[in-house]
């Protein structure tokens, strides 16, 4: 007779001393793990719920400005520094981790219209309503020394925006024309205009560094090449665009924030139809900024909310609002892809998490693994109605909700009307237009 009976030595399964970690022998045999799918689904549901429970995006509020914030810019080299300009001409330099103001400069008379940091981070430029461009040192002057600009350029007209070249010592301003300046000269190297009276925003392309885009008041977005004497082309839309931002990773895309409550992502190779129309705001969109990864962008709106959109989705994945936040004028995504900064009418700069439920600070490997697992689970079961409902739910202030419903009703009515018109007119005379096609009026070469 040959016999063997299961006989386990407890020493192989129990830890030796209480200081050891517990032994956890595994067996991945699927028959020992029944209900794989329902259990995973339950975990996914729990993860979704917890994600909403821990969604506390508001980090800090920086107060100190004495008027509405008109512009914010990130420091080119320092993650922790942010420069902001207010409507009373005051510029403040902030330290984010300490949440304190480092410097206050009375830079302009009237609005500070634009700020940009030089690529090396040693100085920054401001433009204001007083028709001046001022260059400031990033280092604060010694104690008792007055804040003086390094350089001041007097322009002919009011400047509304400024952006610095990625590598060279040139910068672009916009106002009545788009001007390219050399830092060493007091007059523009080149001026572009295309029969329009004013521009609201100008941005250098981060990759193709000689390329420029600007928003004009004649409802157009104009593209320039600084090596050429004339603008390249422009696209005219139904309503005016306020600002635009280039996608930093796929720099042939840019997104513009429009007055018609939408944002439009364009491919510069095919300007006739936007790649995506991003709709969710219920009032004019005032500012937009891409995340450094180029996967998402954040937009600020007159409806007192900021929203985060995936770059290729038509609707936002996140909306941030607080009771005290008024019309949001400017917004920036931090260079470490973790935070969003918003400056609003009521003199505060707010710091938000880019991922609302993310845990801040250092994570242990197990925490990180659990977070990754939960993320994957939510992704896997995202189309299940229960999970979808919880993941999509966002609280909105009452009036925004009301406006949203109103807008939907209006859109529905317009659609119905168009349908009726089409029905009662000659076939083919009223063409079917997609949402993308509706908003572009013309492309001019």
């Amino acid at each position: 007779m040959k016999v063997k009976v299961l006989s386990r030595n407890p020493d192989d399964y129990v830890r030796e001393t209480t200081r050891d970690i517990q032994r956890v022998p595994r067996n991945y045999d699927p028959t020992l793990h029944p209900f794989e799918v329902p259990r995973e689904y339950t975990r996914a549901l729990n993860a979704t719920k917890l994600e909403r429970v821990f969604a506390k995006p508001f980090v800090a509020s920086l107060d100190g400005h004495r008027d509405g914030i008109s512009c914010i810019t990130k420091h080119a080299k320092s993650l922790s520094t942010v420069i902001s300009g207010a409507c009373d001409g005051e510029v403040k330099v902030w330290n984010l981790p300490k949440r304190e103001c480092l410097r206050t400069i009375q830079a302009h008379e009237g609005f500070v219209r634009g700020i940009c940091s030089r690529f090396c981070g040693t100085s920054f430029f401001t433009v204001g309503d007083d028709k001046t461009i001022k260059q400031w040192n990033s280092e604060a002057p010694g104690y008792g020394v007055r804040e003086e600009p390094i350089n001041t350029i007097l322009g002919k007209a009011v400047f509304t925006g400024i952006d610095h070249h990625q590598r060279e010592s040139t910068f672009a301003t916009c106002g009545q024309t788009v001007d390219i300046w050399d830092e060493q000269r007091s007059s523009p190297i080149r001026s572009f205009s295309w029969g329009v009276d004013s521009f609201s925003c100008v941005r250098y392309n981060p990759v193709e560094t000689e390329l420029l885009a600007s928003c004009a008041s004649d409802r157009s977005v104009v593209l320039y090449d600084t090596r050429e004497s004339a603008p390249l082309r422009k696209v005219i839309m139904q309503l005016r665009s306020n600002t635009l931002c280039w996608n930093p990773m796929e720099a042939y895309y840019f997104t513009c924030a429009n007055e018609d409550y939408n944002l439009y992502t364009y491919d510069i190779r095919h300007l006739d139809v936007p790649v995506t129309v991003h709709m969710d705001h219920v009032s004019a969109v005032l500012d937009v900024d891409y995340s450094p990864t180029g996967r998402e962008f954040v937009s600020a709106s007159f409806d007192k909310t900021i929203r985060i959109f995936p770059k290729d989705k038509g609707h936002s994945r996140e909306v941030y609002h607080t009771k005290r936040m008024q019309h949001v004028i400017c917004v920036r995504w931090s260079a470490d892809n973790k935070y969003v900064l918003s400056g609003s009418d009521e003199m505060n700069i707010r710091l938000w998490k880019a991922n609302a439920s993310e845990k801040l600070g250092l994570l242990s490997t197990r925490e990180q693994a659990a977070a990754n697992y939960n993320k994957k689970l939510i992704e896997k079961f995202q189309h299940h109605p229960q999970v979808k409902r919880i993941a999509r739910h966002r609280h909105l202030p009452g009036d925004i909700l009301k406006q949203k419903r109103e807008l939907r009703e209006m859109r529905e009515a317009r659609r119905r009307k168009e349908k009726n018109v089409r029905k009662h007119s000659k076939p083919g005379s009223v063409p079917l237009l997609t949402e993308k096609e509706k908003h572009v009026v013309a492309v001019v070469e």
């Binding site: 007779m1 040959k2 016999v3 063997k4 009976v5 299961l6 006989s7 386990r8 407890p10 192989d12 399964y13 129990v14 517990q22 032994r23 956890v24 022998p25 595994r26 067996n27 991945y28 045999d29 699927p30 028959t31 020992l32 793990h33 029944p34 209900f35 794989e36 799918v37 329902p38 259990r39 689904y41 339950t42 975990r43 729990n46 299940h384």
Partner: protein, 589 residues
């Protein structure tokens, strides 16, 4: 290879093509080739003895060859994994890329396929690291294993294993039901006449013992060793491991049999009044009460694969139940007489039943088809399947254990047998141990059945050696991923499949959920006009203008299509006529 390449580059294009067509070398081929290449070399060296000048070159060549041999890996690439092991971890079929799929979708499918394949391989590789092997019992030549007595086995094995064969002589409170906890550490026995005891059967520590002074129909552990349920004469009671009564659940009366669904935290009870009830033990609520309308329910089993409850009835039918449906999911006629006992294997593939017709039948419950049946002269009153698929059947006062029942081959002779004193009342295999517990009229017997238990447990699922802290941790985790009773159905993997509901079905569900039909057209309401233009007749006229608009559109379209087709046909026939003209046609009028 480098040499081949350089030759290819220097040669003409045609030569290169020829070189490329060679099949890639395999390691076994290479060794042959080198053998071959060495042979001519030897010949060469023989020849070289005559030509002294060339020897130096040849030596260097030989050295080169030896070096290359040393460098080559004899087992290149990944270690192969046996197909059977890979098959074990296969989950579903491989996803095929649908024809005409977009590039993005293709990439996504390819990526997820590669990931799952990787996971499958890793899991299959891990099998090598499992520490324990399953037990076995082999007789000598012309010795039947079923003649080997338990005493002999207990003597032959080590002391700790030998101590797993023991008897508890409890003749007073007679026949006993039993249940092992999920980790297999603890044993709960309940005598018909009210004796309830829970024991750590390996250390023989008595955790509690009491007499409930009432008939005990069944006993069952709940999710941990801290609580158990006892079905007494009238009501269902829940005690803790010290024997303190925690609950008396008066909603559950006359319970005869119980099953605990560990992943759902549900206690399913079958009562003498024909009710199948589900109790959620995590919140203490009754989830469902189903009137089966089939009389006294004293045969019950659960399918561990999909948590469906199987009930056997006196008319020979077996019904399958989920808490979500008032009707049985499946009703199958299995025996000529009543069903005496049934059990389901852990993969949910096979069901074994025995009936008053003294037959033992094996069913495939995925297809609901009988596989084979055999006749047991005494009939089986209790059945139990072990984790590794051994079937034990209680025939009178003998317990027989069968091997290889779950297959297409019919049952021959038992693997083991053991005679007891008194009628057998309960049978259960201890999880993760080679032990079969038998409750009978004279007490309890623990029998050694080599090869019954799963040798390697998963500590995150059920760990027999877990500490107090680990148990607490496990309990919290298990409660967090408690499966809702709504998810119980015949196919537990249903959730991961694509919902291919038709448009009509989806629309119906939507209407039910919303309470109205979102696609319904609102009736045309003619506007009220003045100056007598809203007379009944005028309104009717206006209504008629818009009535059946869709149908009119459709009709218009079909008519148009038809006329076009007719036109085409006419033209074609005209052309044909023209072609067929003969010379005499000109005289036709």
């Amino acid at each position: 290879m480098a040499e081949v390449m350089s030759e290819g580059w220097t040669g003409t294009h045609v030569e290169k093509m020829k070189k490329k067509k060679k099949p890639p070398k395999r390691y076994w081929e290479e060794t042959e080739n080198t053998d071959r290449s060495q042979r001519p070399e030897e010949e060469q060296t023989k020849a070289g003895q005559n030509q002294n000048k060339s020897t130096v070159q040849e030596k260097s060549l030989k050295r080169k060859n030896e070096e290359s041999l040393e460098k080559k890996d004899p087992f290149p690439g990944e270690a192969p994994i046996p197909h059977k092991q890979l098959q074990k971890f296969q989950r579903g079929k491989k996803c095929k890329v649908p024809a005409g799929a977009r590039e993005k979708l293709k990439e996504a499918i390819a990526f997820s396929e590669s990931m799952s394949e990787h996971a499958q391989k890793q899991a299959a590789r891990y099998d090598l690291l499992l520490p324990e092997d399953a037990g076995f019992l082999e007789g000598d030549e012309d010795e039947d294993t079923n003649t080997i007595s338990q005493d002999d086995i207990a003597d032959a094995v080590d002391i700790t294993s030998g101590s797993k064969y023991f008897n508890l002589h409890l003749s007073q409170f007679g026949p006993y039901r039993l249940d092992y906890s999920r980790t297999g550490r603890n044993l709960l026995v309940g005598g018909k006449k009210g004796h309830v005891a829970c024991i750590n059967w390996q250390t023989k520590d008595l955790m509690c013992e009491m007499n409930v002074m009432e008939t005990v129909n069944d006993v069952k552990w709940l999710h941990t060793e801290a609580m158990f349920a006892v079905a007494q004469k009238r009501w269902l009671y829940i005690y803790d491991s010290k024997g303190v009564e925690l609950h008396c659940v008066k909603k559950f009366n006359d319970v005869l049999r119980m099953q605990f669904l560990p992943y759902h935290f549900l206690l399913a009870t079958a009562s003498a009044t024909g009710f199948l009830q589900y109790l959620d033990v995590s919140v203490g609520k009754e989830v469902a009460a189903i009137c089966t309308k089939t009389g006294r329910l004293d045969v019950m089993a659960q399918n561990p694969h999909n948590a469906v409850i199987h009930l056997g009835h006196s008319n020979g039918t077996i019904t399958l139940w989920s808490p979500n449906q008032k009707e049985p999911l499946v009703k199958m006629l299995c025996h000529r007489g009543g069903v005496r006992s049934l059990t389901v294997d852990k993969t949910g593939t096979y069901m074994v039943t025995s009936g008053l017709d003294r037959k033992l039948k094996v069913y495939d419950i995925r297809a609901f088809k009988p596989l084979h049946s055999c006749f047991l002269p005494a009939g089986a009153s209790c059945l139990s399947l072990s984790q590794r698929g051994l079937l034990s059947a209680a025939t009178g006062d003998i317990v027989q254990v069968y091997q290889n029942v779950l297959g297409s081959s019919p049952v021959s002779k038992p693997y083991m047998a053991h005679r007891l004193r008194g009628q057998i009342w309960g049978l259960a295999y201890c999880p993760f141990e080679d032990v079969l517990g038998i409750g009978h009229g004279e007490g309890f017997t623990s029998m050694i059945v080599p090869g019954a238990g799963e040798p390697n447990f998963d500590a995150l699922d059920s760990n027999p050696y877990r500490s107090h802290k680990q148990r607490q941790e496990w309990e919290v985790k298990a409660l967090l991923e408690k499966i809702q009773p709504e998810l119980i159905g015949l196919d537990p993997g249903q959730l991961s499949k694509v919902d291919q509901a038709s448009f009509e079905q989806k629309h119906k569900e939507q209407v039910e959920a919303l309470g109205f039909d979102p696609l319904a057209k609102d009736k045309f309401k003619p506007r009220n006009k003045k100056k007598g233009r809203s007379s009944a007749g005028a309104i009717e006229k206006r209504k008629r203008k818009v009535a059946h608009e869709d149908q009119r559109d459709e009709i218009r379209q079909t008519v148009q299509e038809r006329t076009e087709r007719e036109k085409e046909l006419k033209e074609k026939s005209k052309e044909k006529k023209l072609e067929n003209k003969s010379t005499l046609d000109r005289f036709r009028k």
